[in-house]
Every structure is written in C-alpha cells, then in structure tokens.
C-alpha cells in the first residue's frame, strides 16, 4: 500500500473519531444543543447528497426533484405519526417507501424524455408536489408536533438523535459504496457513459434507470424523515429548489461520481455555512457564487481532482499477475460451422437514402466473416440492423434459426455483442472494472445481495476477477489492470474493448473497424486475439478498411457498395477482384467518360 493511502486512511479514522467524540466535547459549551443540531442538519444533507450522487453522479440522471423527494419522505413519516399514530422507527421506512414510489412515478413518466426534458419534468413534478401539499393539507401545508422515536420508553435526546443520524449516514454511505462496487453499479455507470454500449453489454436501459432512481428516492426519503423529526415540523418549503442548492454545491465541491466526495463536500459546506449563518439572505448568494467558482476552478471537485492527480491514481503493477491455471472461456457452447446469424434481404432506408438495399448474409460460428466496402457503403448500418439498433425497413434476421430479439439489450442477452466504430470505453474506471462490466450478464446475485455483501456476491466477484485477470493477461494488459482506462494508448483501448465484449461470453462478436489507427505491434496483438476467439468457436464479424489486416484473418469476405453486396468470396479472390478495386478506387476507364 502506498504511503499516501495510509495517510488518507488515517485521516478517515481521525474524522470518524472526531464525529464520535463531538457530542461529549460540546457538552462543556454554553449551548451544546445548537452545535448538535448543526451537525444533524449536515448529516441529513450528506444523506441527501449521497442520493443525488447515486442518480446524477453514477446514473447520469439529472434530478431536480431531490428536495421534493426529501419533502415527500418528511410528509410520509409526519402524516403517519399524526394521523395513524405509527411509531417513528417504522415511519422512517414508510418515508423511504413513499419517496421511492414518488421517484418511480416520476421516472416512469419521463423515460421517453430526453436528457433535458427529464430534468425539467422532475422540476415540474417537484413543484406540483409542493403545491399539492400546500393546498391539500390546509395551514399552508405546514404540519407540526412531530416527534422523535423512543428508546426504552423515552424519546431520543438530541445527543442520541445525533448518533442516529450519523448511523443512518454511515448506512447510506455503505449502500452507495456497495451498490457502486457491484455488477449493478457497473451497469449503471455503463449506462451513464453510453446507452448504446450498455445495451450491447445486455443492460436494459429503462429497467436500470428506474432501479437507480428508486434507490436514490429511498435514500432521499430517509433524509426527509430525519429532517422532519429533528425540526418536529414539515412544510412545502422543504421541497423548494433554492434550499436544494446546498446539495448541488456539496456534490460538486466534493466531486460528482466519487464515493466519499459528497460527504466531504457537505462537511466543507457545513463549515462554511456555519461561518455565514447570520448573513441570512446572503447565504444563497454566497453558495451560488461558490458553486460557479468551483465549476471553473475545481471542475472535478476535491476528491475527483485528487483521484485524477498523480498521487491519487493507482499505478501500473510491477509484474504481470499470475493467472496460471485459469482457463479462459470466451464463448458458451460453441458449435463450429453452425449458422449463427442469418440475414435475408435486409433493407434499411433513411428518408430517401437506401443505406442498406437488400443484403443477405450468413455468419457462421468459428469463422471470421469480413465485411469491406468504401465509406458510406452501408457496413455500419448493416450491423446496426442485425443487432436491432435500427429498425429494418424490410427483411428478416435470424439468430440460430430463431427470430432475432427486437431490442439491442435483448440481442446482447441472446449472445450477440458488438464493439462500436468509435471507442466507448468507461474511461474513468480501471481497466479491470471495464472488463468486469462486460460480465454483467453472468452475474446472478441481486442488488440486495450486493448491498448486504452476501456470500454469492463474494463467490461471483472472486471468480470474475480471476477471469478478468486471465483475459487481460491474454492481451498483455495484465500490468495495467488497476489504472484508469483513460491512460491506455489508443490501440490498448481497442483491445480492452474487445476483451470487455467477449467477457460476456457471447456467441457472436461484431467488430467495427477495430484496426483503425493501431500501430504494428497492436495490430499483431489484435490479430492474435481474433484468431484465439475464432478458435474458441466464436462467430466473428469484422468490418475493416485495412484489407491487409483482413487477409490473414477472414475466412470469407463480403464486399458492400451503395448498400448492396457486390461480392462474397475468399480474401485472396477479393484482393484481385476488379469489381472491388473499382468500388474502392473508382473506375480506371474514366478518361473516356470525362470527354478527354
């Protein structure tokens, strides 16, 4: 372990120790209650900021309804105890359930909405919820005389309530951490980077978004419950966006999409807030200015900046990890020579443009099928049709004699994985985590198992990590497994993407121009990897411009021009086929046509 890590861990222990002795330390001051209340408020903010971090930082879902979710939780516990005399301990769970429901409702309505609309809908829902409580409850929506839970027959003292808050914060942090460091979390982050890539790995975009938003909602509801019990009231103003600014500032100051960033950011803000607490209306002004400043000066936040720095980022390993004895399996149940994908007369029109115009193609297991053709000849469109990223205008696609599923993520689940023309790596996470993300489809443990760290999580994770190490060793990236993928060379990134794709153990792998921009050494590594996969029984579709590269690999080559197949033959035949040369280089008898 590096010395900086030890120092950081020490810092963490000191912080935890301070938080624990804090209530005993302030008893000697004139007004210990007020200090404790400041800390309780900060703790509540931290829980809410963690929730915001889960949905915005990791899920990429812009939520402007977090104050509303919190208000929803506060009202749920408040109304439960006032109207139904429900015990506050149970009320906390009711609060979590209520705001989970609220967030599920919001996201279900707005799943079809694009990014911008999504945020606005959450904001509108927030306002509607505030307005509803204000109108429906009377007294401007204010409910009072809420009380704290009891312990041994007595309501919790402020000091006990402080420890309750800190405990809940710790649990919230663990939920966040265990969620993110699991297949569930990796799928969420994949979705944040690119819906297409996540689908190609078998993640259902809509289902995953609903789940992550629901988790965020539940945490926010708990924060609302603490807030209601602490202040013994709840009002629609709690849902106001202006009050929610502090969470955004905390999140951005600490670092969006980092585990501890939200807590660190809120702690810092709480300290600043404590200093300016008597400035009243200047508070929003100062926080707003701080937020803008932070975006310009520290765009990654404190923790994010540290992680990106030399001291904070993991180094390359000294030597390749030992992976002997680990069998590499990249394909499940191969039947060499069987027809994997059968496309019949596929047509795809965009407006008036016939991008794919009646293509039939048959792709077999254990073979490399090359597809070449000039720019704009329809290669990428064809594979998008095969994998359902495009709806067909007409034609039919079959996978192992069955109908190809209708959506990209179902295609992936059926065993067809693709690697896109533009690299779509998860740049900020480690090389190994990129590979682990690809294993999403094989993970059988549930979110609950991951959060509670039950045995199945550990067994699966250990097996996955071994397999990932072996795969990385295969392409010579073993030493780099800890570093962020962003630090790899272009060619290494391409190799990693392919490794990630095959870690899902697909039956068909589609590669779109993987050789572009690779050095000779990287080309050789790519060549060997594709040969290895082919020999394992995978059907490989290889779209490539580099004909020389294709020659040594492809068993058969399909040549496309203007959306039509102009030839399908062996690589040697393609090389000398005048039709192919003409498609690529233009006609040689042109001078006559040009009237010379």
């Amino acid at each position: 372990m590096k010395s900086t890590n030890i120092a950081l861990r020490g810092l963490g222990f000191i912080a935890i120790a301070l938080v624990i002795i804090f209530p005993f330390w302030v008893t000697s001051t004139a007004n210990p209650e007020s200090y404790l209340n400041v800390m309780i408020t900060a703790g509540t903010s931290a829980v809410l900021t963690l929730s915001l971090n889960i949905c915005m930082g990791y899920g990429g879902l812009l939520s402007l309804a977090h104050t509303g979710m919190q208000m929803m939780g506060g009202y749920a516990i408040g109304l439960a105890m006032l109207n139904y005399d429900i015990d506050p301990w149970i009320g906390i769970f009711i609060a979590a359930a209520a705001s989970t429901l609220f967030s599920i409702l919001m996201i279900t309505i707005s799943l079809r909405a694009t990014y911008l609309y999504f945020g606005m809908i959450t904001l509108a829902a927030n306002l509607i919820a505030m307005e509803s409580f204000r109108t429906a409850l009377g007294n401007d929506g204010m409910i009072t005389e809420l009380y704290r839970p009891a312990w041994h027959g007595e309501d919790l003292t402020t000091r006990q309530f402080y420890f309750l808050t800190i405990g809940i914060l710790a649990i919230a942090y663990l939920i966040q951490r265990n969620t993110i460091l699991s297949g569930f979390g990796r799928a969420t982050m994949a979705l944040r980077e690119s819906t297409d890539t996540a689908s190609a790995l078998g993640v259902s975009p809509n289902a995953q978004r609903v789940k992550i938003f629901a988790i965020a909602g539940g945490l926010a509801g708990v924060a609302g419950a603490i807030l209601a019990m602490q202040g013994s009231f709840m009002s629609p103003e709690i849902g106001d966006m202006g009050g929610g600014l502090i969470f955004f500032v905390g999140l951005f100051l600490g670092g969006v999409g980092t585990l501890i960033g939200p807590v660190a950011g809120v702690a810092l803000i709480a300290a600043i807030d404590f200093e300016i607490r008597f400035s009243g209306a200047y508070r929003t002004l100062i926080l707003g200015a701080l937020l803008l400043l932070c975006m310009m000066v520290l765009p990654r936040g404190i923790v994010g900046t540290y992680r990106a720095s030399r001291a904070g980022s993991p180094r390359e390993l000294e030597e390749e990890p030992d992976t002997t004895g680990e069998e590499i399996i990249t394909v499940s149940n191969p039947v060499v020579g069987a027809t994997a994908i059968e496309a019949i007369d596929v047509v795809k029109h965009f407006g008036g443009i016939k991008a794919v115009d009646g293509v039939s193609i048959s792709i077999k297991s254990g073979r490399v099928h090359g597809i070449i053709g000039p720019n704009g000849s329809g290669k990428s469109t064809l594979v998008s049709c095969l994998t359902r990223y495009h709806q067909l205008t007409s034609g039919e696609v079959k996978l192992f004699d069955a109908q190809m599923p209708a959506t990209p993520f179902k295609v992936a689940r059926a065993g067809v994985t693709r690697v896109f023309q533009i690299p779509h790596l998860f740049e900020r996470v480690s090389v190994r985590d990129n590979v682990l993300t690809g294993m999403y489809l094989q993970e059988k443990y549930t979110w609950i198992e991951a959060v509670l760290r039950l045995p199945r999580y550990f067994i699966t994770t250990r097996a996955e990590e071994k397999q990932a190490a072996a795969l990385l060793h295969l392409v010579g990236l073993g030493k780099k497994s800890e570093i962020a993928a962003a630090n790899l060379s272009h060619g290494q990134k391409r190799l990693l993407e392919i490794v990630r794709a095959v870690s899902a153990r697909p039956k068909v792998l589609i590669l779109d121009e993987p050789a572009t921009g690779l050095t000779q050494g990287e080309l050789d590594a790519l060549h060997n990897l594709i040969l290895f996969l082919k020999n394992q029984g995978l059907a490989v579709v290889l779209i490539e411009h580099n004909v020389e590269f294709l020659m040594g690999l492809a068993d058969v080559v399909t040549v496309l021009e203007s959306g039509k197949v102009i030839a399908e033959e062996s690589p040697e035949a393609v090389r000398n086929d005048p039709r192919v040369i003409e498609a690529y280089l233009g006609r040689s008898d042109i001078s006559e046509l040009m009237g010379e």
């Binding site: 079809r112 809908i121 509108a124 307005e131 209306a281 707003g288 310009m296």
Partner: protein, 288 residues
C-alpha cells in the same frame, strides 16, 4: 364558458409565450436551457417597480432604464453561464451553472426588495367590461406587444441574413463557422436579446399582477413548459405553447379550483411528451 378566465388566460398565455421565446433564443445556438431566464423577468418587474412605482418617473424613462440594465444583465449572464460550462466539462455543467446564476440573481433581488411585491401602475389606467368579464388596457397592450414581438422575431429568423445565420448556427455550428459566421458573437447576442425580451415580459406583466422578487424560477418553468408543448426552437410554437399553458391554467383553475391548474398543465406536458415529443410545431431536440 367563463369569459374572465379566457381573458386572463390569453394575457398570461401571451406573456408565457414571450418567456418561451426567450428560452428558445438562447437554446438554439447554445443547447442550453437557461434556468436564470426567469430572473430577467423579475428584473423587468423590479425596474418598473423602482422607477415607475416608487420614484414615480414617467413610463418611457422606466422602459429605457429597464432596457439598458437588461442588456447589461444579458452580458453578465452569458459569462456566468458560458464560462463555467466551457471550463467544467461536466455534462451537468449547463444546468448547474444556470441554476446557480438563477439563485444568485434571485438572492440579489430578494435582498434589495425584501418584503416588497413588485408592482407599478399601468401605462393606461382603463378597464373594459365585456358582459360580466373585464379586460384591462394593460392586458390588451401586453397581448398585442407579445404577439408583435413573436411575429417580428419569426420574420427576423426567416427573412434576414442574421436570422438565417442564427438558424444555421443552431443547426450546425461547425459549418456556420467555416462560412464565416461568428458563432460566439451570436451566442452573446442571443443572451442579450433574450434578457431584453425577458425583462420586457416582466415589465408588461407586473402592472396587472404584482410578483414576489423570488419567483423567477417559476416563470422559467412556465416558459419552458410552453416551449416544450409548442416545440422548442419555433417562435410560433412558443406562442401557441404559451397560450395553451395560460388558458389551461386559468380555465382549469376557474372550473376545478387552484390545485387543478398546475396539474392540468403537467398532464398536458406529459401527453405532449408521450404523443408528440417534438412539440406541436417543433423538430425533435437532441439530448446533451
């Protein structure tokens, strides 16, 4: 049919349409939906309140001062939003920056006008009775001015070279640059223009309904809802979206009472997003 609700709906609808237009103007070249847009609305109200309401200076002077301050606010806002967006690199940068700008302006207004309701006397103190309903001269002026501005802007976009260049920039900034169109200046111009029109909307609104200095964000939302219903990017869409929001608000409120008005608009928004995501007059807008 409640005629009063119709008049009130037309008035607020025209103003919402104007706010929707200002959101559209900055959205087109930048792909930023400016949360601070509603603050320009409050600015117009505040200047009117201070100059015409408190100091009792004549209307034209108030209007002139308002325009000058609005230009300055547009320039400041452009820097406050664009600079963090450029430096941050986060996909949420635009929303956080505009939200921060909104809250900064909001607290400035709240500090200066603490406890005040921003309102001032109308240009013409006259009210017409139509049956049992009443419509004020101020409402008529506001409706006419909003319609005129939206119409003029529509023609500006279609008929002038700068308007066409703006549309070109919105469609494809890279190609606009290689044709020599100064896209950065267009962005500054869009912020200034939308600040001026936003302030004008507030200036027209306040004699009729005073506002609290902290309500800028709710006008942003009304304008956004109008823009989405009409179709982001189209002035005609802004107008029709505004009218739909205004009328739904007042008619649903008159028939079913307060809470129904907000819910009616929300339902309309939801329906549009599901049935016609591009809005009534718009083309689909790309995500960020």
């Amino acid at each position: 049919m409640n005629l009063q609700a119709l008049f009130d709906g037309l008035f607020s609808g025209a103003i919402y349409g104007l706010v929707a237009l200002t959101l559209t103007i900055t959205y087109q070249p930048t792909r930023i939906m400016n949360f601070a847009q509603g603050e320009t609305f409050v600015l117009g109200a505040a200047v009117g309140f201070e100059i015409i309401g408190v100091r009792k200076w004549p209307w034209p002077v108030g209007l002139a001062i308002m325009l000058v301050i609005a230009v300055i606010m547009g320039l400041v806002m452009e820097r406050m939003v664009i600079l963090p967006v450029q430096l941050s690199g986060s996909r949420f940068a635009w929303i956080i920056a505009t939200l921060a700008a909104a809250l900064i302006f909001q607290s400035i207004f709240s500090l200066r006008y603490i406890g005040d309701t921003l309102s001032f006397p109308p240009l013409i103190e006259k009210t017409f009775a139509v049956g049992s309903a009443r419509i004020s001269a101020q409402q008529i002026i506001a409706i006419v001015v909003s319609l005129l501005i939206i119409g003029i802007y529509d023609q500006f976009l279609r008929r002038t070279i700068h308007g066409r260049a703006m549309r070109a920039t919105a469609h494809n900034p890279d190609t606009a640059i290689i044709l020599g169109i100064p896209t950065k200046r267009i962005v500054v111009g869009a912020f200034v223009g939308s600040a001026v029109l936003g302030a004008l909307a507030g200036f027209l609104w306040c004699p009729e309904n005073g506002i609290n200095p902290a309500t800028g964000l709710s006008f942003t939302i009304s304008g956004f809802t109008a823009a989405v219903i009409g179709g982001v990017g189209s002035p005609r869409g802004a107008l029709f979206g505004g009218l739909i929001v205004g009328l739904l608000n007042s008619v649903a409120g008159a028939i079913f009472g307060g809470i129904a008005s907000g819910i009616a608009v929300f339902v309309a928004l939801g329906l549009i997003l599901v049935l016609k995501p591009a809005g009534l007059f718009g083309k689909p807008i790309e995500g960020h």
